[in-house]
Symmetry: C2
Subunit: 241 residues, 2 copies
């Protein structure tokens, strides 16, 4: 892991860009480091997502958490995948036409992404956990929800997750969802224009966790209200401290 | 409204029992009164429900709210209704047998209760609002959810509601749900043994409110976790202060 830039934000949070092999990422640590770590998932496109990611990281830092994110394979400055681009275009076309989204499109879009991204997250997590700034349990927060599901199953370091039910999940992954046992806080935007509500409810039902909360709000995909973010933070405070 | 008893709880909350006509009730006011008021709904049986009601009232008082509750018609020490008892027995039998609950039973159980209880709540609310201890906006909290729905539509003094989706709602009342416009925080116990989850989700969807949150947890009907109660309180703090 190589740090490529470092700056101190006005609230004392240290922001460092890094690369691990070809994967770019950002680490935010609070003044109170060493701190427990929250991995911040997102739909891909680190530059575009930066304003929302840094807001989430500062929010987390205010509660004493470090936060880290990485670019997804095939997004941002990383090499494009023709298959992924095609699947994305097919999904967008179906949504724009108001058609039901074929399972086949979802599988083609999400399964290869999960297969590639999860080992990358695990590699970055290993590297982060060796830093003196990071200590204690790890949480995963955000989308792509299928990546969160797989990580929650295969990565024993992750002890709690806030999952954003704002993207499609391959039906075949519902079996994995049944294997999730860590505490979950699932955010659903009730009228999310890029999601399938019934699929999100079925997925919530499938999770094997004894402690799971579904928190649904109005406001569309990007309209998660402030109080929902606050509550997600409190969830991490209950489980990671 | 006649006060029949008065005592000061150890946290400074003043607890007063009252009657309004034949309706018994309890009012809790914080040391910081005058205070906004939360009406505490429950399934009936004031004595049996007292421990949970006083816990909710103290929780509310800690945030600066007064709280009040009344006995439901046909419950506790109030005269029984043969029709209501019969409908309750029919519902219990269907649930115990694991059968789907007939709409006809729900209508027979809930509609007369709503028709009787809502004007009683309104009468008590009028009396409470004339007290010097009560000031500011009013919230409704709890079950019977159909009573909360009707109150939210017909009682303009109620400006926010925490609804507990832990009892059946007549299908005919979904039209009323569409007329609800106040901010709502709906609590659902995902595996509630005395409820129909799909009905609760349909009802949440039906509410006309631009601001509505669904908060679902595990743990069965009586297992609402502490953090869900805390969040309901924060909802009232956002909307009643």
């Amino acid at each position: 892991m190589q740090f490529t830039s470092e700056r101190r934000l006005d609230d004392g949070v240290l922001e460092r860009e890094f690369t691990l092999g070809e994967i770019p990422g950002i680490l935010w640590t609070p003044a109170s480091a060493p701190a427990p770590l929250i991995l911040c998932g997102h739909p891909g496109g680190l530059h575009m997502m930066y304003p929302r990611l840094v807001a989430r990281a500062r929010h987390a830092a205010a509660e004493g958490f470090a936060a880290a994110t990485i670019e997804l394979p095939g997004s941002g400055d990383r090499p494009r995948s023709a298959d992924l681009e095609q699947a994305r275009a097919d999904l967008r076309r179906a949504l724009a036409a108001g058609e039901p989204v074929d399972d086949e499109i979802v599988d083609r879009l999400v399964l290869p992404l999960v297969d590639k991204a999860v080992p990358e997250w695990q590699g970055v997590l290993d590297a982060l956990l060796s830093l003196p700034d990071i200590d204690g349990p790890v949480g995963y927060s955000g989308g792509v929800i299928a990546i969160g599901v797989r990580l929650a199953v295969v990565e024993p370091c992750i002890s709690a997750a806030v999952l954003f039910a704002g993207s499609f999940v391959p039906r075949i992954m519902f079996e994995e969802a049944r294997q999730v046992t860590i505490p979950l806080h699932v955010l659903l935007q009730w009228d999310d224009e890029g999601n399938d509500r019934q699929m999100a409810l079925d997925l919530f039902d499938a999770f094997g966790s004894a402690e799971k909360t579904l928190h649904a709000d109005m406001g569309g995909h990007a309209g998660v209200p402030q109080h929902a973010g606050d509550e997600a933070n409190r969830f991490f405070t209950r489980h990671l401290r």
